[in-house]
């Protein structure tokens, strides 16, 4: 029986819209228009459990709450209600270049990124060569990152991420960026990590090539969990839904009253 490594129970995240809230003048202005709140649910009562060795796809269109779910599971964001519990370290392959600085060299970025992902001084020293080899960046490693192509940055980030000891690995739709050969290598590596007993969570809005990595899929829409099941069934239902323009822009469970309080 595989061990549960992530448990998400009835998690909700509420966001206040505050794009106009940043300057003092606007704050004072807002004081006088109390009562009209722009709060919305980024996640609304999400529950699921996932075990070691599983590959789970998180499907959903833009704004469905996929990244919020990732943040909550990584521990960056505390849910407003519900609980998230994980076993061991959560590794995340972030959107391209997050945490990288263009003026630093590849080597400096690699080390900083590795430390951020939780490697100790010793881990970095021991794994540096292996990371560099996997990335296929070679002599370019001492060039400033601003001279790197998008594919090279991805290779660097991915190589560090797969060398971190973690029990949960979250990948935020980045695999498509590299060239075909490297993408293949990544998929192979990710599959091996899963088979070694990691929980793999692959966040995406497209249903392409899901079956290879994931056996299960969770579909989010407007912060709600629509469907959780075998990847083929969920992907098919999601594709149907996305093809229908009348349904995809509506919050499904909010047929009557609006969700925002």
């Amino acid at each position: 029986m595989p061990m549960i490594v992530a448990s998400v129970e009835n998690v909700s995240v509420l966001f206040q819209s505050q794009k106009h809230n940043l300057l003092l003048r606007q704050r004072i202005h807002n004081l006088f228009r109390r009562g009209k709140s722009d709060a919305f649910h980024a996640l609304n009562g999400i529950s699921f459990e996932a075990s070691a060795g599983e590959g789970v796809a998180i499907l959903g269109q833009n704004g469905a709450g996929k990244s919020t779910l990732l943040s909550v599971m990584a521990g960056v964001l505390k849910p407003d209600s519900g609980t998230v519990r994980v076993r061991g370290r959560v590794g995340a392959l972030l959107e391209l270049g997050a945490g990288f600085h263009p003026d630093l060299t590849g080597r400096e970025n690699l080390i900083l990124y590795a430390v951020l992902m939780g490697m100790s001084r010793r881990d970095v020293a021991e794994r540096f060569d292996s990371i560099l080899e996997f990335s296929e960046i070679g002599g370019f490693i001492d060039e400033p990152l601003k001279n790197y192509s998008a594919g090279m940055k991805l290779r660097l980030a991915f190589s560090v991420a797969v060398h971190v000891d973690c029990s949960i690995m979250m990948i935020d739709e980045v695999l498509a960026v590299g060239d075909a050969a490297f993408a293949h290598k990544c998929v192979e590596r990710v599959k091996r990590m899963r088979d070694q007993g990691r929980l793999l969570m692959y966040i995406t809005h497209s249903t392409e090539a899901l079956g290879e990595i994931c056996s299960r899929a969770i579909w989010l829409h407007c912060g709600r969990l629509m469907l959780d099941g075998p990847v083929n069934e969920v992907a098919a239902a999601y594709a149907d839904f996305m093809a229908d323009p009348h349904r995809r822009f509506r919050d499904p469970a909010a047929s009557g009253a609006p969700t925002a309080s």
């Binding site: 003092l24 960056v76 972030l94 945490g99 900083l112 430390v115 060398h163 973690c166």
Partner: protein, 271 residues
């Protein structure tokens, strides 16, 4: 291929709420290095600026206060330098730590590191300036016949307290700056006021008696006062001055930390 990822399920800890697992001290050091490198990478003169900048100020202030407003203070350039070094460090470290969270938001947006590390690391990264400027102080001191003495052993304690104070201020303002983006301009204005309120181009003796007590509660002034006693007059800093500096610094640090922790949970939605 090397098997770096040993089977992940061997010994798994119990289910807990997610958080950062790693080497905090190594991370702090790496962020210090990062800040330092990023600051100087694209300058052709690099760290030399921390010598040139005070040199310009010394020449300027010496000219004004020996030629225009005539001051009878001996070793005047050295007096200015002992005032300028604490002031420069304070303003640079505080203003750079104020914007540090904003500048490094990509570091903690997706990874649950202890965010306190960032403003603290940026304050520490400015220590490199301090080392260079203290070198300048020693060189200029030798020129005027002022040599390092055992009294200089007070300096690490004094600077340690000053660091604590700036970290507290930096923690508070960096967190506030995430919520209200004009905080950095408030900090800049305070720094401008400080240039006149801290005895840089004048001495403590010129300050009217009724303000002297108040001056000692300003941590930058207190540091300038103590440094001048130690470096220029070879005297121990008075105990009351040390207590005041320690009080202000410790209160500032813990108050800053409390404000930071209070606001921390709101960072995510403001990024």
């Amino acid at each position: 291929m090397v098997q770096t990822n040993s089977a992940a399920t061997d010994t798994l800890p119990p289910l807990t709420s997610p958080g950062w697992v790693g080497d905090t001290r190594f991370l702090l050091w790496q962020i210090v290095l990062k800040d330092f490198r990023v600051r100087y990478r694209n300058m052709s003169l690099g760290i030399l600026w921390s010598v040139l900048n005070p040199m310009v100020m010394i020449v300027l202030l010496t000219f004004i206060f020996t030629q225009v407003f005539v001051s009878k203070t001996p070793n005047y350039p050295l007096v200015i330098l002992t005032g300028l070094i604490p002031f420069n460090f304070f303003t640079l470290a505080w203003s750079s730590s104020t914007t540090s969270l904003m500048d490094n938001s990509s570091l903690f947006k997706r990874i649950p590191i202890r965010t306190e590390i960032i403003p603290i690391a940026v304050v520490l990264a400015n220590l490199m300036h301090l080392v260079v400027q203290l070198g300048l102080l020693i060189v200029i001191g030798l020129y005027y016949g002022v040599y390092p003495t055992w009294y200089w052993l007070w300096l690490p304690l004094l600077w340690g307290l000053e660091l604590l104070c700036i970290m507290g201020l930096g923690l508070a303002t960096s967190a506030l700056h995430i919520l209200v983006r004009d905080v950095r301009y408030v900090v800049e204005s305070v720094n401008t006021v400080m240039f006149w309120l801290v005895p840089i181009f004048y001495t403590f003796a010129m300050v009217p008696d009724r303000f002297k007590d108040l001056y000692q509660y300003n941590p930058v002034s207190a540091l300038v006062l103590a440094s001048r006693l130690v470096i220029l007059e070879h005297r121990h800093p008075p105990e009351t001055l040390l207590w005041k500096l320690a009080l202000v610094s410790v209160v500032s640090f813990f108050l800053g930390l409390a404000i930071f922790r209070r606001l921390q949970s709101r960072f995510y939605s403001y990024m």
